[in-house]
Symmetry: C2
Subunit: 315 residues, 2 copies
Amino acid sequence: MSEGWALALHGGAGTMNRKDMTPEKEATYHAALRECAAAGSAILAAGGAAQDAVEAAVRALEDNPLFNAGRGAVLASDGTFEHDAAIMNGADRSAGAVTGTSTVANPISLARQVKDQTDYVALSGQGAEKFAREMGMPEMSADYFDTPYRREQLARAKVAQKVVLDHADETEFKTGTVGAVARDAAGHLAAATSTGGMTNKRPGRVGDAPMFGAGTWADDRSCAVSGTGHGEYFIRLAVAHDIAARMLYAHQSLEEATTAVIMGDLPKAGGRGGVIAIAQKGRPVTPFNTSGMYRAIVCQNAEPETAIFVGGEQG
Amino acid sequence: MSEGWALALHGGAGTMNRKDMTPEKEATYHAALRECAAAGSAILAAGGAAQDAVEAAVRALEDNPLFNAGRGAVLASDGTFEHDAAIMNGADRSAGAVTGTSTVANPISLARQVKDQTDYVALSGQGAEKFAREMGMPEMSADYFDTPYRREQLARAKVAQKVVLDHADETEFKTGTVGAVARDAAGHLAAATSTGGMTNKRPGRVGDAPMFGAGTWADDRSCAVSGTGHGEYFIRLAVAHDIAARMLYAHQSLEEATTAVIMGDLPKAGGRGGVIAIAQKGRPVTPFNTSGMYRAIVCQNAEPETAIFVGGEQG
């Protein structure tokens, strides 16, 4: 049981097939997860704040085209990009979110600016873009985000939707989010989530990432949570705040609360996905009800761990 | 203690000065609140569903230029309109929201369509507008929403912000939301909230109304809640879901839970506003920590009540 600083991150949960994963591809993901985790844990190791650590880790995930956020965002049905991101500081429950941006390289840092530089909690669309320019963030061209892999994925999703409306493997096309949670040496918690949305989604769809209490929550009194999965169910169940409320009011442990929601209420309602979560004491937890979730855990005085499928943590 | 159907609605909370309220103006508000409440209670009295009743009541509030939603929406700093609305059905926790629409006469009915006709929970901006056209909702011109009173209010807010940044009466310009909660004869709960935002706000700002768990929540196991006030604090405290969680996990009554949040946690954090809330049993409650909240309560086999200031219910 670690009581020092700790960080966990996720790069999305979903239907992942071991047989589609070559050893080379798997190694690439493990290396990327380790690198993104290090971007956050370096801040914690230097005595930095949890909110700075989760922002740094999510920035690294956004910059990596492997993950559905920032640079690697998936395409909506009309071939456009829409990013959502949110950050929350458990120390004072200050919060910032942006939705529907398409020219900002690191939406999580724009969300952080909304939190720190405005009286608002959430900005959307053109208002968020305008604010990004005011904050000096360059307007990225579509080329920056446009990757051949995502184009091909959209084409496949359109074919799949035409053929089978309720295809079991649809999840592969639909979900994917990145996020981080951290506890710093001073005991403060923070959470950050960023997403490029769902492949082939209706433009304008807002998911759980920027909905505080659904996909993102942080409160020093209970826990910090970042979710990934079928966002609509995370919203309808207020997954992140429900985990916090179970700890605060029903005195459940972090393990009990996250297990009850992710392995109980969520699949019962038909929702698939997972969370990473951290409390005042102990290791972060990473429950999910899908076949895999890209994830990493770094604790003070311990070797970083990365994992993709159920079990299979790599030291 | 009524155990049959019941409905409560609000037309916004804020700094209200009795001396600014002529008897004629006050009578106009009471009549409007009664009329909007009747639009919802008529459905409950006929055995209709709670979600239909709250939609009807909020539509009536949206249609009335006295309230900051739909037709009466306030102006953002650039003189544009942005509507947000959300509806949630406690029976199955299905939910729908729209943000940033500007041509839809009744955003609450668009939110209802998102809930009933799509796989999504929330649509924003142009995507929401496009969906409205698909649902056959006419594109209203700006004239429909533009009232001389709101123009004058924006001008006054700009002057006030120039002169005093942290003016105590700023709230008058800033907040305002409409909402309804209901329990139907079958015992199901529902909540709906709609807003025209904050006068002189930054375009793109998203408040608590469409954030499920913040300004809107409904769950048959606990309660239905609609909030009004300084939305950023409602988001950071997850006000609506926190009330529900206190009932579910700490076994607090509706009165205890709403009082703890609205008269305790919210003002402690610096947030002003109120909620209307209803549970499986008993009368709706309408706590607020401002000097007034436009509100109405209708219970089966009882005379409708309307009120504006602290106390002062009119039978």
